[in-house]
Point group: C2
Chain length 500, copies 2
């Protein structure tokens, strides 16, 4: 029973929705009701969608309305017809149930679950049940290895025909810690290969891809990416369209509002992306601090052991670098503001944030040693040299030119400073609130939005001096951020003499 | 920033959706994107909804489109305006996360979670995570008690000002086991009080409310229900609109597609409904068999112990009755078909299904003893007597008359017999497939749809004799059921002499 597809003009993001009239013969004969999961196919394109039933007048009974994402995924062209049938049974859900009941999952079971998730066959509630069942230390070492492998297998895997392929990752939770562009510039200036794929922001005010996008084009496909890497040894590409560990993107989308942290998911997420990207040598920056993702020594050691175990089983060389996670890094928080910091470090500007520079140099030094470019103990100095001579900056410009040109990031129209209400020492900066304020100001959707820090922990500030400046594009967003700040201060100042 | 509400004519069932234009000033100033969770309020009415963003032309930027359920829940009237803001943080999710990480939940934590679920504040993925975290034996006895109490507290609680208040429940999984109408008729004919609230089908082809609705009006509110009970001592009411343990309905809706079985959830679900309905003495029918919900001795004993423990802690008198769950009960499967069986038993018709009669009499006998009407050992005979003298039938008619009149259930236009392909003994009847076929035929939405069994386990059948008859209203549904039957036979027939 073919139906005429109609674009509804409704954005439901990754959730596919199909709209059908209550009196539609397919609804009636198949016994479909609102919220039924259905299979929609248009020739070779197939999606699982949720059915919304429409009142008379919105659609004719022979039409199938499609949400924007469903329309795109089905590749609808003029004169196409779609078919809507019952969604097939999800056999892999029996394995999810087994996990819920406390059983181990075999490699084939994890493969089947991850394939179904990657193909969009699981509604969010099923994914959430899987994530909840796996969290809380309920995945053992072998299951985490098998999950990682399953996530790699469910997508594309890049091969570079050479080694080493350098890569880095930061476990996150530290606003402004935008070392990646600098590390790539240094490492590729040394002649190593570092074809960097990055994500956009998930819960943070900016991802590396958002930051790089304020300076160059990051939406390269694999052939374009290969051309840049062939010439320059590195690239800055948004990985979201390359189908690298696609189940990871789906799980992260569901995990985010649930705010579940699970070492097994974290390790599988990080390592599957690196393996799929063809990396062989990976440095992982793990900031540890009270408002970072990893908050204690014990958590750090457990995560490190699992990362090393799983990487080793998957044939990935890994080096974990523990860093301080007590306060934001650099000055800017938000895509363009972080790009300004990155450029200042690369250009050796006198106002360049030193903490960002030191972190990037340390990580690049590890990679230079790790990949055999520098001898042990000499990587750090070599990284400094590549940065200070301008070699890294030249390489950064060359890569950006090959990706379509380098441009200066913009600056927001509205800049509103927040002033200290007392004189004293900066006792604490709340990273979580700071991310929230940057997002309320419009980041990352508005690339120039965010905030610019003017103080660091332990600094003395005078009453009336600026603590940070809000950057926004609209008065509404400024008001929203200010409202939040009224009850959620970011910076705690101690009275002079009261402490330290 | 007030917005003009507009009914979209889109049925999304219990999920509330609000539609807003991409350029709407509220979307822009609040930083809303598709799938953002938002709070929509219209005066005192507030709902949490998922945002769908529309392309230009569908809505004007000053409008807020509402799904049908959201429109109703907000009680929109002409000239009303709605406000859309960020959804408040769900503090109780930190307790769900604690459960996911393996911690016990306190009574206040369970109260907060259940309240939020009952009020529709959790999206499905959050509920699924909670259910998965609680399944697999991860709720201890005290948590199950506290969950039950929390579920009662989150809704209305009926009080009858007398005792005992009799009730019954079947743990389910046995198609056609429609004893409730008969038990209520017998028990109230004995002068006891049994104000029965029942649910509609969830995963099965019929719930007691669906069956009773083919004979009388079941959508009574509490005052109307009280008037019937005052006069007749009993009633047959759909409980879905009475706000009894409303979190249970929400959780069941999410649990159903996940197909998670959890003793804690089951016990809290069953007992919270009974306590909220004001019942004091409850008989629970637990069918045990290979395709019933409870499949083994060990499962039965574990469930029985937990039911008794939690009931006792909540001050509920409970008697568990283990019954045989090896094959469907009665002849009809589907609302009207089961109603015909119920009426045949009540009327003492010669063709009345004896298994249904025996089960109902046994349960009613337990209740008569348990509630002090009959002495121990005499309840069964008294129940038979009330049925055989026509007292139960008279009472059933009287109750239905007070609820708006008794009518004869209808019969489907299309009746298609399925014939035995070989001669032999009936070795097995698959209850799960049988439910599936009845639903494919249209039950419970089409009240007359379903199937009528002609054979029982162990019976001899001749090749060509009818095994069962499909009842449907449309050729499409008949075809759908036949398709399924072609690859999923319901009845297994052994060759003569090959067995038994």
């Amino acid at each position: 029973m073919p139906l005429v597809p109609r674009r509804m003009g409704i954005d439901t993001q990754q959730e596919f929705v199909v709209y059908m009239d209550r009196e539609c013969v397919v609804c009636r004969s198949e016994g479909f009701d609102a919220q039924t999961r259905v299979l929609v196919h248009n020739g070779g394109h197939r999606i699982l969608a949720t059915l919304n039933v429409t009142d008379p007048g919105l659609l004719s009974p022979g039409e199938a309305g499609l949400s924007n994402s469903a329309w795109l995924a089905l590749g609808i062209r003029a004169s196409d017809h779609v078919h809507v049938t019952h969604a097939p049974t999800l056999d892999s859900m029996s394995d999810v149930r087994a996990k819920i009941y406390g059983h181990r999952l075999s490699a084939p079971a994890l493969d089947a679950i991850v394939q179904d998730i990657a193909k969009g066959r699981y509604p969010d509630a099923h994914i959430a049940a899987f994530l909840a069942a796996c969290a809380g230390g309920r995945m053992d070492r072998q299951e985490t290895i098998d999950l990682t492998r399953a996530m790699v297998s469910a997508g594309q895997r890049l091969a570079w025909g050479r080694a080493p392929i350098a890569d880095k990752h930061c476990v996150g939770g530290l606003p402004g810690n935008r070392t990646t562009p600098i590390v790539v510039a240094i490492v590729t200036a040394a002649g190593l290969t570092m074809p960097k794929t990055s994500s956009r922001a998930i819960t943070s005010p900016a991802g590396t891809a958002d930051v790089m996008e304020t300076m160059t084009h990051v939406g390269l496909d694999v052939p374009a990416m290969r051309r840049v890497v062939e010439r320059e040894g590195g690239c800055f590409v948004w990985g979201g369209a390359l189908d690298l560990s696609p189940a990871d993107d789906v799980m992260i989308r569901v995990e985010r509002p649930l705010d579940i942290d699970s070492d097994a998911q974290l390790v599988a997420s990080v390592l599957s992306k690196k393996i799929a990207a063809g990396s062989t040598h990976v440095v992982i920056d793990v900031p540890v601090g009270p408002t970072a993702k990893v908050r204690s020594d014990a958590d750090y050691l457990a995560l490190k052991a699992l990362l090393e175990d799983v990487a080793s089983a998957c044939g990935l060389e890994l080096r974990i670098v523990r860093t301080l996670g007590t306060q934001p890094v650099g000055r800017g928080i938000g895509p363009a503001l972080e790009a300004h910091d990155v450029l200042a470090v690369l250009r050796g500007a006198t106002h360049a944030p030193n903490d960002l520079r030191m972190r990037a140099v340390a990580l690049a030094g590890h990679l230079l040693e790790f990949c055999g470019h520098s001898r042990a103990g000499e990587g750090h100095d070599r990284a400094c040299q590549l940065l200070d001579t301008g070699a890294a900056w030249a390489k950064f410009q060359a890569i950006c030119e090959r990706q379509g040109g380098l441009r200066e990031p913009a600056v927001a129209d509205i800049r509103h400073p927040i002033l200290a209400e007392t004189t004293g020492l900066v006792h604490a900066i709340d990273s979580r609130r700071l991310s929230r304020v940057a997002k309320l100001a419009g980041a990352p959707a508005d690339a120039v939005a965010g905030l610019e820090m003017h103080v660091k922990l332990g600094e003395h500030v005078e009453r009336g001096a600026p603590l940070f400046t809000l950057h926004t594009e609209t008065p509404g967003e400024l008001a929203y951020a200010m409202d939040y700040l009224a009850s959620h201060p970011l910076v705690t100042i101690g009275k002079p003499g009261a402490d330290a």
